[in-house]
């Protein structure tokens, strides 16, 4: 009998204190163990890894959000305790804690309506309950008090019905807390999909604009792509299922439109399904179901399976745990570059759209041309227009004078100067290629350029080009233009320290983190 009481107490203890588990597997001196690595004044004396250096531009904020993994949470309304029962604490504090830990995606279970136009948030009606309005109010406070925060996506497990009257009540709450005024700001942070599409396509003719605006989300992503990390800063977006979507348009749509919904860990092994989803340039979200006590995803399995949003139960993790540290790049916290991604035979190892990266030397002002090829099979067949994004910047400084398309009939859709020079262009439907002309002012180290678009199939630098003097750190899933690897890699260790080492098969040595960068240099 005593042994069973002991076992019960042990199980309850483990369940109540999941954050205390030490999951740092490091035991050897050559591996990252950053709780005490840097106790020597000589950084490399500890583990031969230069872990207080910083890989520049670990995440590229000018690239689309679906080119990166995103930090995502599950049952975020629970801030402490097991996922059900009287000891589970439900409060906005769970959302606040997740946001403070750099999570981008918050998941809220809405189970029923109140009798006064609000909704109850709880876990399968087995826990405490909080009004949805209160959670939205506190999300708004967090957004208002963290200027230019990274994108927040609020997703729901919706169990309160989706008839028109219910959706009107839901939309009224969204309007009140995410659109209207607050004690701090006059304008709400809600990301409006229709406004973004309208803004991006405004320079196009009316017929094409209307055709794009009418596309379902899955096809919109294959034509227009997703917004960049930088464009989404300061915004709060909604993720909704199909029925809610019809009332509340949102970019992040769940359900039978390419996302996985509420799948268990076994879904991580379905590489074929994940590959198909990624090839369709969709975001993939998986979160655990039926887990109790301190069970949680191995986030790194999600990374390797090519899941963009692998959601964690945040009440079970702390900053010292690997679920959090993969996303601790200070350049764009909450995002992680894809390193190793499994795929099925014959299909590329990329997370979202094809991303091309190249570099060239330009010590003084010069013009560089790029030839782009498009393959409509990558995106939506018979798309009304061909759209792509070009991003250029000096390595470690140096300005870009202009980015232009010399192909006749091109349209400039958007133009950004920060955080890098970037432009979004459109070409007529069916175009198979385009020529880009970059004018740069000169930079000792050289320049880097990224080209990304739903149907961009190849990019080459035209003519003789000087080599960039500096190397680039880039995701191995990006396709290089005249670059070759040096064999070096960089990754993040616990608490966000950078580790530098050599590629070791499917990982960067010293770390099990499958999110890593490779060092690339210009081909001679």
């Amino acid at each position: 009998m005593k042994i069973w009481i002991f076992l019960l107490v042990a199980v309850l203890w483990i369940g109540c204190f999941p954050g205390c588990v030490d999951d740092d597997p490091s035991t050897s001196s050559g591996q990252a163990d950053n709780s005490d690595d840097d106790d020597s004044s000589d950084d490399d004396a500890d583990d031969d890894a230069d872990d207080d250096s910083y890989a520049p531009l670990f995440v590229r904020p000018s690239l689309p959000i679906n080119a990166f993994h995103m930090a995502a949470s599950h049952n975020t309304f629970i801030w402490r305790g097991p996922p059900g029962g009287p000891t589970t604490l439900v409060a906005s504090l769970g959302l606040i804690r997740a946001l403070n830990l750099g999570q981008l995606f918050l998941e809220i279970d809405v189970t029923s309506k109140t009798d006064d136009g609000d909704f109850w948030v709880n876990h399968s009606e087995t826990t405490q309950s909080v009004r949805l309005s209160s959670m939205l109010r506190n999300i708004r406070w967090w957004s208002d008090t963290h200027a230019d925060h990274e994108m927040i996506v609020v997703g729901f497990q919706w169990g309160a019905g989706s008839d028109e009257a219910t959706m009107n009540e839901f939309n009224a709450l969204i309007d009140e807390f995410l659109v209207g005024t607050s004690p701090v700001s006059d304008e709400g942070p809600l990301f409006s999909l229709s406004d973004w599409v309208q803004e991006m396509t405004a320079p196009l003719d009316e017929a094409t604009r209307l055709e794009i605006a009418a596309l379902p989300v899955i096809e919109l992503a294959q034509v227009l792509g997703y917004p960049s990390i930088a464009e989404m800063r300061g915004k709060v977006a909604l993720e909704t299922g199909g029925s809610v979507f019809s009332q509340t348009p949102s970019f992040f749509q769940l359900g039978g439109d390419g996302h996985f919904t509420n799948d268990g860990e076994e879904a991580l092994g379905d590489i074929a399904a994940h590959t198909a989803n990624r090839m369709a340039q969709r975001l993939t979200r998986i979160y655990t179901s039926g887990r109790v006590f301190n069970g949680n995803y191995n986030l790194f399995d999600g990374f390797r399976s090519g899941v963009s949003n692998c959601a964690l139960n945040m009440e079970m993790v702390g900053t010292e745990h690997k679920p959090a540290y993969a996303f601790m790049d200070e350049n764009a916290r909450g995002y992680a570059p894809p390193g190793y991604v499994e795929t099925v035979d014959g299909l590329p190892k990329r997370l979202g759209p094809p991303v091309f990266v190249g570099a060239f030397g330009a010590e003084s002002e010069r013009i560089v041309s790029l030839d782009l090829s498009f393959d409509e099979a990558l995106g939506m067949t018979d798309a009304p227009v061909v759209i792509f994004r070009v991003v250029a910047q000096g390595i470690g400084g140096g300005t870009v004078d202009s980015i232009d398309v010399t192909t006749p009939g091109s349209t400039l859709l958007a133009n950004w100067q920060e955080p890098a020079a970037a432009k979004l262009f459109a070409l007529a439907a069916g175009e198979s290629g385009a020529t880009i002309e970059l004018i740069v002012n000169g930079n000792q180290l050289g320049y880097e350029v990224h080209v990304v678009g739903p149907t961009v199939s190849n990019v080459v630098i035209v003519g003789e080009t000087a080599s960039a003097q500096a190397t680039l750190w880039t995701s191995p899933t990006f396709r290089s233009i005249n670059l070759e690897t040096t064999g070096a890699c960089a990754t993040l260790a616990a608490r966000g320290e950078r580790l530098f080492g050599q590629l070791a098969g499917q990982r960067c040595e010293f770390s099990e983190n499958p999110s890593f960068l490779v060092e690339m240099k210009s081909r001679p």
Partner: protein, 129 residues
């Protein structure tokens, strides 16, 4: 094996009943959540209980029989009453000119009539820092 499972389930239920009983003895817990940035220490006081102090990032709590009489402030002599049962935004001006703003949240327990209250401090303006 079946007996073992049943035994564990019974023990689990007993522990949950004890946990529930313990919570039922505490009709109102008030959490003082200090998430203001930039932050400073905020204090709170449940009816008749000792003062709780919330440094930035902390969320201490006290037990209250009358959550409508919670007090919040920057020092023991600088307190203002706040009815934490009224969900919504709040803004309290203390006698030294400090303004404490934030949101009040009511948590409904699975046992009827039991509530917890969260006082989220989001902003602190003015007053002697």
């Amino acid at each position: 094996m079946k007996k073992v499972s049943v035994l564990i389930l019974i023990l689990l239920c007993v522990s949950l009943v004890f946990a529930a009983g313990a919570m039922a003895d505490q009709p109102g817990m008030v959490f003082l959540v200090n998430v203001a940035t930039p932050g400073q220490v905020v204090i709170g006081q449940c009816d008749g209980s000792e003062t709780i102090s919330a440094a930035p990032g902390e969320h201490p709590f006290c037990h209250s029989d009358n959550a409508a009489a919670f007090q919040i402030g920057s020092a023991p002599g600088l307190l203002a009453s706040i009815d934490v049962t009224q969900e919504g935004n709040f803004s309290k001006t203390l006698s030294d000119g400090m303004v404490i703003s934030g949101a009040l949240e009511t948590v409904h327990h699975i046992y009827p009539e039991i509530r917890s209250y969260y006082v989220y401090i989001w902003r602190i303006d003015g007053g002697a820092k």
